[in-house]
Symmetry: C2
Subunit: 452 residues, 2 copies
């Protein structure tokens, strides 16, 4: 007895075309885009959470482990804050880092209404978000979440991402997160299309077209980091077939950069890492650069549990994340930078042209400032193709805001023949790489989400 | 002043078509294929090397480090043999493992003669090869090699792979090696096409078409592992556009497997790893399964240095590496297995249907034998699509021979709906994944090199 065999096309224009159609749909079957800010505000009020800074001693269920001083939850789950020792060719340093080995799920449910793909987004509260509630993926869950480590409620819609079913996967890829703050973290970025009925399981969910999400990405602090990275992982609707470098040349350049850039990073006890001090409320550098580890209590929230406290990482000042953009022969390109970050599993990934917190460099000589930073500090209005404030994952980072920019530059500031460590690629090339693990870092993926 | 901009196609059929043309060329401008065995034999005599097993105490420049008992070279270079502690959901174990953090270069130079791509191969002696001399890439060099850690001679042709030049890169990707024997090893697999004159720098080099290399891959122990993995990394000349699963479905399945399969592996001192014993001549398991660490002296060789001694890993018996092959709707598919191996950087990669040393299981109940192994032990001659003995890297492994097989199977033994952990993919799909790091393991890449 032979199972009848049905072959299918390995890939098709179909999904890309359908994503492009959704991107052209300025409104959908759900809430109009202009009502989203009021909805998020209403959700903020409904959640009614207060986030209050507390001393480490007031953390509930979290403590510094005797011996290592690593900060951990009594259950051994969620994450730990440990020490990292990084040795590189140019510099070596130690720092605190979040260790969270389990793979979380960032999943967006998609469904066609009136022939247009819509995406189910959640208005979700995260304690580190400057405005608490932002548009998030349908599901944003660590394994601890959905195996109920905090005795919480079920994660709504999770079953669509865990079980095989009559689904069509649009994207499914393990992506890295912040290599400066997370040790080898990765999340599964998923978009799954369903054909059956999907009821709205609460007032915190709504369906949006890609066109609506694109418009919302123009606003400050509306679309959260998890939503941005999942959207960036989806195939680009339009893919140009011409570029300054062939795909093989880009790959070969990246392989060379990954071979060349070496950082030797090892976990060590948080206790006594060089250059860092701990007081009652924070772990910070003696010179107050980079970031600090702090603790917050979340009160009165209607989230998975009634209230909780946890550590967060808080950068010392807002960041700048920017792509230089140029048109070559009528085709838009962005300038990527191969970056080694201490927490990356495989040393280097492609980041934006600039990714830094400028305040960290104010007291240093100009020669030590990040290359190309000046292009993003006071760009001419006419050269700004994109500008919005976004924050990083509010479950781990407190007020980690950056200005995300795409700025048109020219041959004098950013030559076509890019300097070592940099390369011009098209959004289509970046999107192709973002379909695989560990090529495009989370900041570059955020910018890629607005390039489609 | 603006640099004139020349856009190029991101990818083209050109390289694939030219590789396919070379694959159809049964002979080339160099040595006829039938003369290769005699040439390798002549090179074997010319090199005149003897490989002799020695006790560890006779190793020159290598010793067991006080404290850890890790086996290392006095220079601190080349590689070390350390201990690995592996904890998995089904089983946990400890083992010796080779640690070699530096990224080596496996490079094949390509050049067109009479409109057909030829590849520059070297008849290279490696002490662990059962027949010492095999066809190798143009360059096969660790960083220690080419920075002359053993005070050796220059690596011929290396400059083509280190310097940018008027070259066309055909493939350039970091690939993993044996996850059971190497800790997070990767090599840069390169094929670089040159247009200028390339003199033959010795009697150990020759130009071959892909068709010749395909024919030589049918013979036992002629094409070495490094050559096989580089050839497997090149784009497949012919790519079918139909398959049982779409590329996105294959990716999603693999992402799920990589999320599901977890192995926690940590280096530890070689001293006192559980289940292993050290005597004067070897480090081996008490039950003599899997492999042993041994030492050899290489004498009278005309290689980079006149003679040397080194440790090698020696499997206890020959292995079996096999793909089940089926045609679905007229399109050939192979059955890949998502495998976690202790030394992989990212937990899991796609391996062949079967990859094991059967002797390790002879004393175990049938239920503990590797799945599908019986299909490869005595297959009907009519079902064998490929069969040859190949050995693994002779610079690290002693007599590590396996029978490489591709066997046609049917619905009763290998259903179209593959069991968990397995999936049918086309050679074109496997080739696409082999163009990126850490998807296809080295054994599956060896088989992919014969599937083109």
């Amino acid at each position: 007895m032979t199972t009848p065999t049905v072959l299918k096309p390995r890939s098709g224009r179909a999904v890309g075309d359908r994503l492009a159609r959704s991107a052209r749909a300025g409104e959908g079957i759900g809430m109009p885009s202009e009502q989203v800010p009021a909805w998020l505000e209403a959700r903020r009020r409904a959640v009614g959470a207060q986030v209050r800074r507390i001393p480490f001693a007031e953390l509930d269920q979290w403590s510094f482990e005797p011996g290592s001083s690593n900060l951990r939850h009594h259950s051994g789950r969620f994450f730990t804050v440990e020490g990292l020792d990084v040795r590189g060719p140019q510099s070596s340093w130690q720092q605190p880092i979040i260790v969270q080995p389990e793979i979380g799920i960032l999943g967006i449910l998609a469904k066609e209404f009136d022939g247009v793909l819509h995406f189910l987004m959640q208005a979700k509260m995260e304690p580190g978000n400057p405005n608490l509630v932002q548009l998030s993926p349908t599901v944003q869950a660590t394994r601890s979440n959905y195996t109920k480590a905090h005795g919480g409620t079920n994660v709504r819609y999770l079953e669509h991402f865990l079980q095989a079913g009559p689904h069509q996967v649009i994207t499914d890829v393990l992506q890295s997160e912040h290599g400066s703050w997370f040790y080898r973290k990765r999340n599964r970025n998923l978009i799954v299309e369903v054909s059956g009925d999907v009821p709205l399981l609460g007032e915190d969910f709504g369906w949006f077209t890609l066109g609506q999400l694109k418009a919302l990405l123009q606003q400050d602090n509306v679309v959260n980091m998890d939503a941005r990275t999942v959207l960036a992982s989806a195939p680009l609707g339009v893919d140009g077939q011409q570029a300054l470098s062939s795909d093989t040349e880009v790959m070969s350049w990246f392989t060379g950069e990954r071979s060349r850039l070496t950082l030797d990073a090892h976990l060590r006890p948080l206790d006594g890492i060089e250059g860092w001090l701990r007081d009652s409320h924070s772990i910070h550098r003696g010179d107050h650069r980079f970031f600090r580890v702090v603790a917050v209590a979340v009160e009165g929230a209607g989230r998975e549990v009634a209230g909780w406290s946890q550590p967060l990482i808080e950068p010392v000042a807002p960041g700048v994340v920017g792509f230089a953009w140029r048109s070559f022969g009528g085709v838009g390109h962005v300038l990527v930078n191969a970056r080694a970050e201490g927490g990356f599993l495989d040393t280097a990934e492609l980041g934006p042209t600039v990714q830094c917190v400028p305040a960290n460099y104010t007291r240093l000589p100009a020669s030590e400032r990040p290359r190309f930073l000046d292009l993003f500090e006071n760009p001419d209005a006419g050269r700004i193709r994109y500008s919005a404030m976004h924050s990083e994952e509010g479950g781990r980072f407190l007020n980690a805001e950056s200005r995300y920019l795409i700025v048109e530059t020219d041959e004098s500031s950013t030559p076509a023949q890019a300097p070592p460590g940099y390369r011009w690629v098209t959004p289509a090339q970046l999107s192709l790489l973002a379909g695989h693990s560990r090529y495009v870092n989370v900041q570059a993926r955020s910018l890629l989400s607005v390039l489609r």
